[in-house]
Amino acid sequence: MSQFRGMLRIARVDLSYFFRTKWLLGTLIGLNVTDMFVVGIVYKGMMSINYFDFYAPGVIITGLFFASFDVGRRVHLGLTEGVSQYYLTLPVSLNEVVMAHLISAGLGGAIYAGILTGVAMAFIPQLATLSTLLLIPFMFILAMGLAGIAAVLNLFSKTGDRYWVFADGLQTALVSLSTIAYPLTIVSSYLPPALVTFVEYNPLSQGAEALRTVINGAPSSAVFNLPALLLTSLALLAVGVVSYRHVFTELRDAGKL
């Protein structure tokens, strides 16, 4: 029980570092909200669909992705500044240190997405429903899963430069190859079938579609999307666990990553 508490304390300290980096948080929120309003409102007049209602969930999920992905930056800092070694001396197991980082990523993503959802609610009243609340645990698991991708980057990026390049490239690719900005019908007419399948199963698409289902007032179809969302997230989470286990085991064996 005390070990479990220790794990949650590490998660809280790690999460607090994300929210303490105020310039990062301010810039992210500023960019996401600006994106939501400028792109959403401008495109609203150019598209046959209500583009603001379509795009806002996409921005919320993008925010969740960026916030959960920040765990990779924190782990990288922890490894280079020796904080990870310090964690390994505390009375918690290696698995609990791993889970603490992934839980912190999940909470960071869910809280950040919650803030953006709060902003969007002012303009999309359909979001202010019980269904949105019910989605929160799924968003938490989605954020933990997305953090698994950051964990893979931590595993392969020994230097800070490489980490930032990989992270930027991966974030751009995952957001571009999703239904964050365009409906699947449009995407499928421009991309080869293999990439369309990727877009469909991209967890960012699944998260955005779940929120859109809530906006469109069909909670049953939101539930319909959830198993795929859950499965993909859990698979990525498992990858994250394995990757971070490897990162910290290597740290204990080699003294550095």
Partner: protein, 321 residues
């Protein structure tokens, strides 16, 4: 633990290799309960590796160790409950503040509520960090960050407290304060292990000193025993009533226990001897036999510097000569 039940830490052929290079080579040693063991060694001698291994930061390549009877390989969690390490480089996220860093550390060892607040406040005050408690870690000076790193162990007072160069980057006044705090920690029941390459620190703190080189223990004894153990360790300066002749020089060199004798000035001699208390009467008899009066005798003991240089490869006489 049977044979090593007196020991808080016991290593058994503890080895850590990085590829072909052995950072620690089959180290077997015991650290007694309630003592301050100072590990002295040149850079790269394996001091930090040893501390990281017993703190479970690193995993041994072969061999093992016990901390308070718990095996570092098989029972790392139990070991972590018993040991605390203060790293050579202060560890903390740049934006966290001293109060939160210590509070987090205390909470990880089960301190709650009022008890935790009091422990954190007292420790910050003891280490003269209270005024800086709300500064961010990155805003602390090198000395403050180092004191904060050391202070972590005083919040929860582990059974085994491990300090890696605890006063590096700290000013003279701060060094004395940290040394006194480390002694207090021992008085309150902790076993203390300090790795350093500062001889003064070792002399001030050590119950026993372990000298390491190339990942191996060269010697582990009390300071006095170490000083007595080196050949030609006592330096005796003599002033004669007559000019030092070849005959006098030869007579001094022939006294049992003389390692080296050098002419200092016209009437002075510097000698390097074993056990000056036994050597002096023999030397006086020899001088009387030559009809030479010794007008002044000054004996100095070897310093830990001399011991260190002796065991790490240089003759102590060279450092005096």
């Amino acid at each position: 633990m049977s044979s090593s039940s007196e020991n808080s830490v016991q290593t058994f052929n503890l080895t850590k290799s990085y590829g072909e290079a052995k950072a620690l080579d089959s180290l077997t040693l015991g650290v007694r309960r309630g003592e301050i063991l100072v590990i002295l060694g040149p850079n790269g001698s394996g001091k930090t590796t040893f501390l990281h291994l017993i703190s479970t930061v690193l995993r041994p390549t072969s061999g093992t160790a016990t901390v308070m009877g718990y095996d570092i390989v098989k029972q790392p969690l139990k070991v972590r409950e018993s040991i605390g390490i203060s790293f050579q480089d202060p560890r903390g996220f740049w934006r966290h503040k001293p109060y939160h860093i210590l509070s987090f550390h205390a909470s990880m060892y089960g301190l709650r509520g009022e008890e935790r607040s009091k422990a954190v406040e007292d420790t910050l005050k003891d280490f003269e960090l209270w005024q800086s408690r709300n500064k961010r870690f990155m805003e602390l000076s090198g000395g403050q960050a180092k004191r904060l790193e050391v202070a972590k162990l005083f919040v929860h007072r582990p059974d085994v407290a491990v300090f890696d160069e605890p006063t590096a980057m700290v000013d003279l006044e701060g060094k004395r304060m940290i040394w006194d705090m480390i002694r207090q920690l021992r008085e309150k029941g902790s076993t203390v292990i300090v790795a350093t390459n500062e001889v003064r620190e070792a002399e001030y703190l050590a119950d026993r000193i372990c000298i390491m080189k190339d990942g191996k223990e060269l010697v582990m004894e009390s300071l006095m025993t170490l000083k007595d153990s080196i050949t030609g360790g006592d330096v005796v300066d003599l002033e004669m009533s007559a000019p030092v002749s070849e005959e006098i020089l030869r007579a001094v060199r022939d006294v049992p226990g003389t390692v080296r004798a050098l002419q200092g000035g016209e009437r002075s001699l510097r000698t390097f001897v074993n056990r000056s208390e036994d050597w002096l009467p023999l030397m006086m008899t020899a001088m009387q036999g030559l009809g030479v009066r010794v007008s002044s005798i000054r004996v100095s003991e070897p310093s830990l510097d001399d011991v260190f240089l002796h065991y790490t490869g240089k003759e102590v006489v060279q450092s005096h000569a």
